[in-house]
Symmetry: C2
Subunit: 464 residues, 2 copies
């Protein structure tokens, strides 16, 4: 917890007040504290919280930050787990909560135009009324903002079939760190004019520009969903099934897995659900036309085969589906209840390396005397590795975490599939990305943000 | 045709000879001319042609170009239509034809690693042996290189369902204009560490870096394809059908259209194929499991309905499918035979604006006394507008073309969906992209290519 740069120069306060009035500028410490954290462990007191209502006001706030060299941290709803929305160097928080207008749902062109503060669920509801959805589906959908989803390139189970935020964004309006209002991308699903600034800004964690409007690509809702719970003897069998599923043309809309620790934890809490001897579990969803689903389920069952399979339960009935998901949904509350400290990472390895990662995690759990429970988006190799312990275990958890990252990179994986870097993983980035590439990224950041005011201390590590 | 910078300094020739030997350095003008053009109208004599075999040699060539301030134009197979591979400012052509190795097909992880000179078809064949394909499917697939596909963000009909090159690339190895060897992206389908340099380089037309290796995402081959030829009274009816098709969950793998001029041209040449009164035609393909296709066809037919529909012919038999495609395939040869000069653009408009674009094109054809024939990828709104005439008509064609671009932009479209900018559309880019955005793009280019040696005179217009 830091209070760096807590003091706002009086002139800066005056300039911000001129832009925002009294109501949308928070200067009282009690108010400011509530904008000083996200869903990571980080917390830091900003000097002021601003709540612009439109792009002009955003540009004015950026101008004030430039003039007074104040750090500017853009904040959606603070649901991120990596600390990207924590004002770790103080300065100004720009909350997008008052920019929550759905500008347009355009079914004929399969797109929506939204302000950044619209929640993911609000967008889904508005699109759903026209028979569409927006693919990114983070667990925090009810609370998180589309702007935050774009900043972090958020995803979720559906990314397997429908892509992440990056693949589902057509264009952006934004204000750069130099205070320039820009418009990137197109209103069309194809376009190759100029350099692709849209996908550069998506996933840049507020380091390049403040997004003021997004044109996102919508996808037609499926007619029906089929749900499968498949129990396996061990993680190797489950991972082989994942590879075979991914090699045939029925791409699941979800392909989630639980390792043996996760299965054991669920069995402790909700006995009777899974067959004896279950060492790993897959949840599989297929979607499409109702009359496609029997064929899809048959293809998935054929791909899975009998290799280590203990049980295959499939349904297209929504309430039965809910019952099948119960084991998986029981996991997160169980994790919270068994350990006061949970370090939840979202590493990615090539799908074929999931068993190797599982073996490595078992060895690390032993070596560091840490309980590790893993689950996640198996079709992408995106594994949520949870290191569990008490506050006193922190040093051991941290040491173990660093070894987890090294194993992931040795398996040609990546440190984060959807949570991002923020402050939490920043010190590990140079294990994955080389010095030349980091130098390029820093230089690109400087192009957008020459004064270094946008989200300093995040994402990219300092030069060595 | 220009011969700028035709002379290579003797020291530069010596340095290149040291890297490449005699065999892979072409200095004879007759040899050099054959590397001076692509499928645009441009042609220009390079001072030397280099044929590196690996990334080390590419880095050495870039070093020589930096030292002697020589323009460096990377060339795949020269099938691009926008002039991006033409060495318009002379200097060195770097042909990737000797870097044509498929490094790895990795079915378990649904990826392939290839050198840039591998042809699209060679990649498809190698992936096909494992039951996969790479989605980009330009017409020139048999000849064009994967590196060229990436440089132009190439696509084709399948992009509608499976995305363009940008959505189907996981990572790159490249040499920047500063001579730095870099590695971008991941070997996984998710990853949010650092800025997304991969998708920035894809579509950058050789202006940022020379791609030396690509990790591309593979997709499982469908079990079967269903093909539909649907004839409509007019383009409005066809376009409304396209919007309805795109609003339901069966995403076609192709949704191609022909306007009334294209239909008329085909009917002149191959009478008897299409019903009387056909004013527009759609070719629709659905793919997936064999037993999905009846349901898919029924859903597509329901979406199309009877609104202006004259004929609906569907088949899952490959030879019947070929017969249905005959009318569409007859179009390109017909276009070549009726007019010695054909300006073929690939503009994009929002799908709902296709009828407005068609009306605008009719008016422009009248006003400029130019025959215009349009067809293309209707589901993306990506329309190939062909302006036909004789060499004497060039000025009229050019004037008409500029008006076409203005209409497209007025309809919130974009100048190019898949061909790119190169030299041909460069002077129009500032109609679409604002000054601030162009300044950012030029600055990003300078980060990668501080000396401005990579493909000068392409893509981004000079500052005003």
């Amino acid at each position: 917890m830091s209070e760096t740069a807590d003091a706002l120069p009086a002139d800066a306060a005056g300039a911000l007040r001129q832009v925002l009035g009294e109501d949308r500028l928070l200067l009282d410490p009690a108010d400011r504290w509530t904008y000083g954290y996200d869903n990571s462990r980080g917390q830091s007191l900003p000097a002021a919280v601003t709540m612009p209502q439109d792009a002009d006001e955003v540009a004015s706030i950026v101008e004030v930050c430039r003039r007074f060299r104040l750090p500017l941290t853009t904040r959606g709803r603070g649901t991120g787990t990596a600390g990207a929305a924590v004002p770790s160097e103080g300065g100004i928080v720009l909350s997008t909560e008052r920019m929550d207008r759905i500008v347009k749902i355009d079914p004929a062109n399969r797109l929506a135009v939204v302000q950044p503060g619209v929640t993911n669920t609000a967008l889904q509801t508005a699109a759903g009324a026209h028979g569409f959805f927006w693919p990114p589906d983070p667990t925090s959908a009810d609370y998180c903002s589309v702007g935050g989803n774009l900043a972090c390139n958020a995803a979720g189970p559906r990314a397997l079939k429908y892509g992440t935020a990056r693949e589902n964004t057509l264009g952006l309006e934004a204000v750069t760190g130099a205070g320039k209002r820009i418009r990137t991308g197109t209103s069309t699903t194809k376009g190759v004019v100029g350099l692709d600034l849209t996908r550069l800004i998506v996933g840049s964690e507020g380091m390049l520009a403040v997004i003021t409007e997004a044109t996102v690509k919508l996808t037609p809702l499926p007619e029906r969903i089929a749900t499968v719970r498949a129990a396996f003897t061990d993680i190797g069998a489950a991972a082989r099934a994942v590879s075979r599923i991914m090699a045939q043309p029925v791409v699941p809309r979800a392909l989630e897995f639980m390792d043996s620790s996760a299965v054991a934890l669920v069995r402790e809490r909700t006995p009777g659900g899974l067959p004896a001897g279950t060492g790993s579990m897959l949840m599989i969803e297929a979607d499409g036309l109702a009359d496609h689903l029997p064929g899809s389920l048959a293809a998935l069952a054929a791909a899975v085969g009998n290799d280590g399979l203990l049980e295959w339960r499939a349904t297209t009935d929504p309430s039965e589906a809910k019952a099948l998901w119960a084991a998986r949904k029981a996991l997160s509350p169980a994790l919270r209840s068994i350990a006061p400290v949970k370090v939840n990472e979202d590493v990615v390895v090539p799908v074929s390396e999931i068993p190797a990662l599982a073996a490595a995690l078992e060895a690390l759990a032993d070596r560091h005397r840490v309980r590790i429970v893993s689950f996640g988006h198996a079709g992408n190799g995106n594994i949520h590795v949870n290191l569990l312990g008490t506050p006193a275990d922190r040093p051991r958890l941290e040491a173990c975490l660093e070894d987890v990252f090294r194993e992931v990179l040795a398996l040609k994986g990546t440190l984060s599939g959807e949570h991002g870097i923020g402050t939490e993983k920043r010190r590990f980035v140079s294990l994955e990305i080389g010095a030349e590439e980091l130098a390029l990224m820093r230089a690109v950041k400087s192009v957008f943000d020459p004064d270094g005011i946008l989200n300093p201390g995040k994402g990219l590590p300092e030069p060595a």
